[in-house]
């Protein structure tokens, strides 16, 4: 099978190398809105970053980022974080997302941190917190459920 999410060997290798860039390369919408990763200065994991691209604006008067783009960023972060954090390589498929918008997201860089709350045999639960100036002043929080697919069976 060609390299990609359906290729277990590729998935296991990129995961072992922490090659999140290889995964993002297969996610055009995440690239369009400008999602990238950086090492978490407080630990071993990753933080996620949303570029303040002009195309991400949802309100030109304020101006502010599109709330739906912020949600898409947080979903991407949760998916990538889950792919790294599970015990074995799994392919997450989103079941639901619930997002609370706490403050206006200005057109400046947005960061996000994810927490894997539960990894079950079939389901994963992830929480995401997104902020701009300071982590203690979040712009949005989200919780998501994913089906954890078996990559050997081509997904969920």
């Amino acid at each position: 099978m060609r390299e990609g999410f359906g290729d277990l060997e590729w998935l296991a290798r990129t995961r072992a190398e922490g090659d999140v860039e290889a995964w993002l390369a297969l996610m055009p919408y995440a690239r369009r809105i400008g999602v990238s990763t950086l090492p978490d200065p407080q630990g071993e994991g990753l933080l996620f970053r949303l570029d303040p691209c002009a195309g991400n604006v949802g309100n030109v008067l304020l101006p502010a980022l599109h709330g739906g783009v912020v949600a898409a960023f947080m979903e991407t972060a949760a998916t990538l974080d889950l792919m790294l954090a599970t015990r074995a390589p799994r392919l997450p498929r989103i079941v639901d997302i619930s997002i609370d918008y706490l403050r206006t997201a200005r057109v400046t860089p947005t960061l996000a941190r994810c927490s894997l709350m539960r990894e079950g045999r079939r389901m994963g639960n992830v929480r995401v917190c997104a902020w701009q100036e300071r982590e203690v002043v979040p712009v949005a929080t989200a919780r998501l459920h994913f089906v954890l697919g078996d990559p050997a069976e081509g997904g969920a």
Binding site: R2, G4, F5, G6, D7, L26, M27, P28, Y29, A30, R32, I33, A54, G55, N56, V57, G58, N59, V60, L61, H66, G67, G68, V69, A71, A72, F73, E75, T76, R93, I94, V95, D96, I97, S98, I99, D100, Y101, T104, G154, G155
Partner: protein, 165 residues
């Protein structure tokens, strides 16, 4: 609007077209308003490869669906109010029934379930093939009220093209 002008459904379709065309993200993706009635707002997102979230399997990024539901639910709020007010999203819940697939436009519709003094409750649905919904969304929007709505917001929505030479 409050001063005696009652927009028709086609007026609203033009107004919401303007609304989603002013938003850079939805303008660049080519989002189109198909129909607006007091009960329901319907939109259409043409296909482009940037909507993918998994090029290996040809699946739409789930975040595209969340973005669309936020947009269509937030737009449906405007015709449901006595006069247009700015209404930011308070929270949004999206249930994914099946993945969207490459190559097909995505349709979105939303209706307002209830308007209170402080909040507008909405729900929306997305599909590529009629009768096979991709996702359902439930979005609640905060009413900022006339005092926090910029002067001329309603006029800008309903301005005719030739007013903006």
């Amino acid at each position: 609007m409050s001063h005696g002008y009652t927009p028709s459904d086609p007026d609203w379709r033009r107004a919401l077209t303007r609304f989603v065309t002013v938003i850079p993200h939805t303008r660049e993706l080519g989002l189109e308003v198909l129909e607006v009635t007091p009960e329901m707002t319907t939109m259409h997102l043409p296909w482009c490869d940037d909507l993918l979230g998994d090029t290996t399997r040809g699946l739409v990024h789930g975040g595209v669906l969340t973005m669309l539901l936020d947009t269509v639910c937030g737009s449906a709020v405007l015709p449901a109010l006595p006069a247009p007010e700015v209404c930011p999203t308070l929270d949004l819940r999206v249930d994914h029934f099946r993945p969207g697939v490459a190559g097909q436009a995505i349709f979105a519709e939303a209706r307002v379930v209830r308007v209170t003094d402080s909040v507008v409750f909405t729900e929306g649905t997305l599909w590529q093939e009629a009768g096979r919904p991709l996702a359902r969304g439930i979005g609640n929007f905060v009413r900022l009220g006339p005092r926090n709505t910029p002067e001329g917001f309603a006029e800008a929505l309903f301005a005719r093209e030739d007013d903006h030479a």
